[in-house]
Structures are given as C-alpha cells and as structure tokens.
C-alpha cells in the first residue's frame, strides 16, 4: 500500500476501534460520554494553543521593535558622525587661520609660513592650483568581464605614469593623493583616502601640460594604459588644462612617526 493511502486510511487512532471492539455488545450501542480525563486533556490542549500563540506574538513584537530601535540608533549615530565631521572641517579651518595670524606677526614667522605652504603643496595638505592635464577613464561601454573594467591596479598604473611624466600634484575624483594615500579595491568600489569613488574616474594632475602627454606614452605604465584602451575598450581621454585646482587632502595625521633626535 502506498504511504499516502496508508496515512489517509489510518488517520484515526486504531486504538479507538480496538477498545470499542473489546467492550460488551450492550455497551457499544450507547453513545459514548467524554469523561473527566477528556475534559482535563482538552483544557491542556487549550492551554497549549494559547501559550504557543502568545509566545509567538511576543517574540514577533520583540524582534520587530528591536529592528526599528536599531534603525533609529543608526540614524542618530550617523547624524552625529556628520555633525562631528563638519566640526572637524570647521576647526581645521580655524587652526589654519590662527596659525597664519600668529605667523604673520613676526618676520621669522612669515618665512616659516611661506615654507609651510610650500611644504603643504608637496605633502598635499594645502590646495594647489596650476596648469596640468585632466584624464578621464571609465569602463568599456557595456563591460561584461573584469578585464573591461577599470580596476584599482589600472588606476595605480595611471597615477604612477603621471608621477613619472612630471606631475607635481594629483587628485582622483577630488581626493588629493598624499604620501599616505592608497588606491585599492574595497567591495565593488575603488577607494582613495578611504573614500569610495564612483565611475567615471577623473584624474587631475598639475604639471607641464605640454610635456606630460608626450612623456606619458613613453612610460611603461602609460603604454600599458594605451594597450588596455586598444585591447579591452577601456575609455581613456587626456586633455590639457590651462588651470586646475586640486583640493587639500582630508587626513594627514601622523600618530607615530616623529623626527629622530640627531636630525632635530
């Protein structure tokens, strides 16, 4: 007999038939009565059902309220982060203003101030402006494979080729490159200075706009990029600009590195 047939044909406990078969013929004709035991068991059943229902609805409300609580917390905390970030920018501006004010009071200070801004240009802590080239790179149109996309190592090659061609300052999508900058993949996006970038990637480089494009194609990484463009259809467009302005980098905190004693 099939399992399903068996289950349907034996849906009622066979014991009921057994017990009634054992009873004397006189008693079997009488309508059976549910006794105290059945009453207690049914009460137990009702208790079980009610408890299960109460328990279920209780855990549901707990998880529901927990989720909305977490969402509120996330919103509050990210608002806090935003306001603190704004405060950091504000205070940094204040520091710069005070610093310049203080340095401008003495001759020595003025010399220091000039040195500071010159070093700032190199370090990336000051915004810079000047002529240069703007390079716009992007994935191949309807890219399918990873090779048709701009990867972190492609951007690294591009930046290296630009440094090699005589660039003095570089920023990618408004993120200024410093000695502490890394260009890397995080998830599906490329991050620079711990900020995720979105396509297309605009690489601005300050330097001699006439010399850079010519030198660029002569460098190893530059020619690698031209190969990428030819072989995989990556989009690459370099234009000379009369005037470019690169912003200052956000993070330039050195926590551990200091000057050695004998060089001070």
């Amino acid at each position: 007999m099939g399992l399903l047939d068996y289950v349907t044909s034996h849906s009622m406990d066979e014991d009921y038939a057994h017990v009634s078969g054992r009873k004397p013929a006189g008693g079997a004709s009488k309508q059976p009565q549910a006794g105290l035991a059945a009453l207690v068991i049914l009460g137990l059943f009702g208790l079980l059902v009610a408890t299960a229902a109460v328990q279920h609805s209780r855990t549901e409300t707990v998880s529901e309220s927990g989720r909305s609580e977490i969402i509120t917390q996330i919103k509050a905390r990210s608002a806090q982060v935003d306001s603190r970030r704004a405060r950091i920018v504000e205070m940094r501006d204040e520091i710069t203003t005070l610093e310049t004010q203080f340095l401008e009071t003495t001759n020595e200070g003025r010399a220091l101030s000039t040195q500071l801004s010159r070093l700032g240009v190199r370090a990336g802590s000051t915004a810079v402006t000047g002529p240069g080239v703007r390079t716009v790179v992007d994935d191949a149109p309807d890219a399918i494979s990873e090779q048709q996309q701009v990867l972190d190592k492609d951007l690294q090659k591009l930046v290296n080729a630009l440094w090699e061609s005589g660039a003095e300052a570089i920023s990618i999508n408004g993120q200024r490159l410093t000695t502490l900058s890394a260009i890397r993949h995080a998830g599906s996006a490329i991050t620079v200075n711990f900020r995720s970038l979105s396509r297309p990637y605009v690489v601005s480089a300050i330097g001699n706009p006439d010399a850079i494009p010519a030198r660029f194609v002569e460098t190893q990484d530059g020619s690698a990029w031209l190969d990428l463009e030819a072989a995989y259809g990556l989009q690459f467009d370099m234009t000379s600009e009369e005037s470019l302005t690169l912003p200052a980098a956000n993070r330039l905190d050195l926590r551990h590195a200091t000057t050695p004693e004998n060089l001070r």
Binding site: L4, V7, T8, S11, M12, D13, D15, Y16, A17, V19, S20, A28, Q31, P32, A34, G35, L36, A37, A38, L39, V40, I41, L42, G43, L44, F45, G46, L47, L48, V49, A50, T51, A52, V54, Q55, H56
Partner: protein, 110 residues
C-alpha cells in the same frame, strides 16, 4: 458539551496567565500544538463514530505530543530538524484533513 467547556477554560487560562515558556522548550511548542490538534480531531471523529474512549484519548494525546517533541529534538541533534519537522507536519496535516472530512460526513450526512 462538557469537553468544549474544558477547551474554553484552557484557552482563557492560557491567555490570562501567559506562562513563560523556557527557552529550551520553545522550538517544540509549535509542533506539539500540531500533534495535539491531530489527537483532538481523531478523538472528535471517534466520538462521532460512537467509539470514543477516555483512556485512548488521553494516551493518544500525550504520546502524540511527546513523540512530536522527540522527533524535533532528534532532528535538531542530527542537523535535520527543519526537514523532520516538515515531514511530521505533512503527515499530521494529512491525518487532520482526512479526520475532518470524516467528521464533516457525519455532520452533513454527505
């Protein structure tokens, strides 16, 4: 009639007391309810058939609940808890449906 009263008292008691179920017992509660439901419908059908017996009902109810709990427990230990519970619920569900069909035949004589 008197049995229905017992059911009502049980439900009201459960809603009023709202007993706290210990955490280790919680996964067995839903399947215990389904198993108990099967025993209750079987009893109702036996009642309609005129072969109801108190003792059989008590034994079938308790053994149903215990075995259902045991199967879930075993399944949890073996790592097939979900599948075993599904199997138990399918079989009990089929039984409940065919019992209810028999009860319906008694009530409507059709």
């Amino acid at each position: 009639m008197i049995a229905g009263l017992g059911l009502l008292v049980g439900i009201i008691l459960g809603l009023m007391l709202q007993p706290d179920v210990p955490l280790w017992l919680e996964p067995y509660l839903p399947i215990a309810v389904v198993a108990a439901l099967d025993a209750v419908f079987g009893a109702l059908r036996a009642f309609m058939d005129g072969i109801f017996d108190d003792k059989v009902f008590v034994v079938s109810f308790i053994s149903n609940v215990l075995i259902a709990g045991l199967i879930v427990f075993l399944g949890d230990k073996l790592g097939v808890g979900g599948q075993l519970s599904t199997g138990v619920i399918v079989v009990l569900g089929i039984r409940i449906f065919s019992n209810v069909a028999a009860i319906r035949r008694h009530i409507f004589h059709a």
